[in-house]
Symmetry: C2
Subunit: 316 residues, 2 copies
């Protein structure tokens, strides 16, 4: 199979840059970078090589010369441009929330529900950066003991809110750092919390799973963490949960506290502090950390793409 022709849309953003780095590392060389008119003409790096950023127009994306488009732009941008890329014949892996809950669009974490990716009609959605590590950890527990309830408090880094949020954090004095909740609020919960609940249910194929999330932005540059309480239908000891997670793909069990700094620039979901939740008979508590730009975003998209490419190669 020839090298696939890949377009990275949103190439100047936090996720786009990580995407280009991972593509270069993995040896993809037929890559084009797209961004808004404002960034068109600037340069981004693919391995050692400079790519000139092209404007992401309907015409450019639908021209028929891309096999695969990795989108990491905002929801409204994706709504506008993704259909053009699909029309041009590309398979789109989209990071925005535009299509995640749409019927007929697979929402995929390859380790959890990779087979669903093959059911796409042009678009596969890449989940929220908190949903991806959470489902990697919940899936083996569900398989072994059935999930009854999940509560999760997040510690989300600035990079999850994009380059501007990173720049704001970088420009703050330390005594200005604060916790934030910089998401749309419906009066009861933040949109981020609804995403985390609805996406987790869709990926795990547990449409009624009770999940109560509290999402918080913390003054950390890269890496999201989550304090998780899980109640299972069948008993599951912390030791058994640990063994299950040690065998789970993309999960790395650590002995100490899994911090975002430790997870940053790695491809794994770090899990630790696996212990009994003493408040419930079948309760477990654990803590996870993950690079929100890597496995939480760019890497998961590339893994989805590779899963589709390998199936295409087998079919060819």
């Amino acid at each position: 199979m020839p090298s696939p022709r890949i377009g990275v849309v949103g190439a100047t953003g936090a996720v786009g840059k990580v995407t280009l780095g991972l593509l270069a590392e993995r040896g993809y060389d037929d890559v084009r970078a797209f961004a808004s008119a404002r960034s068109a003409g600037s340069r981004v790096e693919l391995g050692g090589e400079a790519l000139v950023v092209e404007e992401a127009t309907p015409e450019a994306l639908s021209a028929g010369d891309l096999d695969l488009c990795l989108f990491s732009i905002g929801t409204s941008g994706s709504r506008e441009l993704v259909p053009h890329a699909v029309r041009g014949g590309a398979i789109v892996v989209d990071k925005s929330s535009a299509y995640r809950l749409a019927d007929g669009v697979p929402l995929v974490v390859p380790e959890v529900n990779g087979a669903r990716a093959l059911e796409h009609a042009g678009i596969v959605a890449n989940p929220n950066c908190c949903t991806i590590p959470l489902t990697c950890v919940l899936e083996p527990l569900e398989e072994a003991a059935r999930l009854r309830r999940v509560r999760v408090a997040t510690y989300q880094s600035a990079s999850g809110a994009g380059v501007e949020s990173m720049e704001r954090l970088a420009g703050e004095r330390p005594d200005e750092h604060d916790l934030r909740a910089d998401w749309d609020f419906d009066g009861v919960e933040y949109e981020e919390e609804e995403k985390l609940r609805l996406e987790t249910r869709k990926i795990l194929e547990l449409p009624e799973l009770p999940i109560s999330p509290t999402c918080v932005r913390v003054p950390v540059m890269v890496g999201h963490a989550e304090a998780v309480w899980v109640e299972t239908e069948q008993p599951l000891s912390p030791d058994d949960a640990r063994s299950l997670l040690e065998s789970a793909p993309s999960v790395r069990v650590v002995d100490g506290f899994p911090s975002p700094g430790q997870a940053a620039q790695t491809e794994d979901v770090l899990v630790g502090r696996i212990r009994r939740d003493p408040t419930e008979e079948n309760g477990l508590a654990l803590f996870l950390a993950c690079d929100n730009l890597v496995k939480g975003a760019a890497l998961n998209a590339i893994q989805i793409a590779e899963l589709l490419l390998s199936r295409a190669a087998l079919a060819a």
Copy 2:
């Protein structure tokens, strides 16, 4: 009643400095500052006035010329020095964990169990900086609907770990900020988590209350926050919980996200995001923030002291 003769032990620390500020604001003028030999001779501020720091020796503290000692030094220091201050006739309000769980030592949040302070035999313990705001919020819910289970994820600021931790945060580059768990670890949980559970049970006088805490240090300078899930025996709507909390002393219900930055340098426990925990029939979720140096430490100690002084005045 003449102005009480007050000793602030640990006067150069993060809590000690806030204690001196609050004492000055409240008009106390017969105040002496004590600290370790290293800091003796340096100056601290009481209102506009400079106090020369005295060395906190057994002799100085037991000389019989102090009515009240507010200790905010480490646990081993308190174990060594508190008995001398008591021997000298002072009532001690101690911020360390040395005496908090000891039989016969009241552990007091005045709004929650103030009457217990009167049962002291020389020492009243001042709770952990996460326990104080948590019990302020749990008490009215317990009164109204009985607590069945509590889960809490903390977001604790650097100042909770003292001046050195604040200096480290101030000296970090923003991309070096990370979540930490800088407490003693017994292999399953951090000492901080055990404190939060055992102290909350003692203060609320619910020795079996199931509590599952996850404690995390965040790169914020001042102000602790907590994501809390509460299950009650009787049903309690979010609106009713809000009304109860609006009437609770030292609690201020806010409409948006209660952040540490908003709580900093205020005397209140901010509570918001009071909503159903949809995973449990009688479940509520909420978020709180509190200045860990003020209500979480220095102010609570002064309030305990004032409670004892007012009773002493009434009895005199």
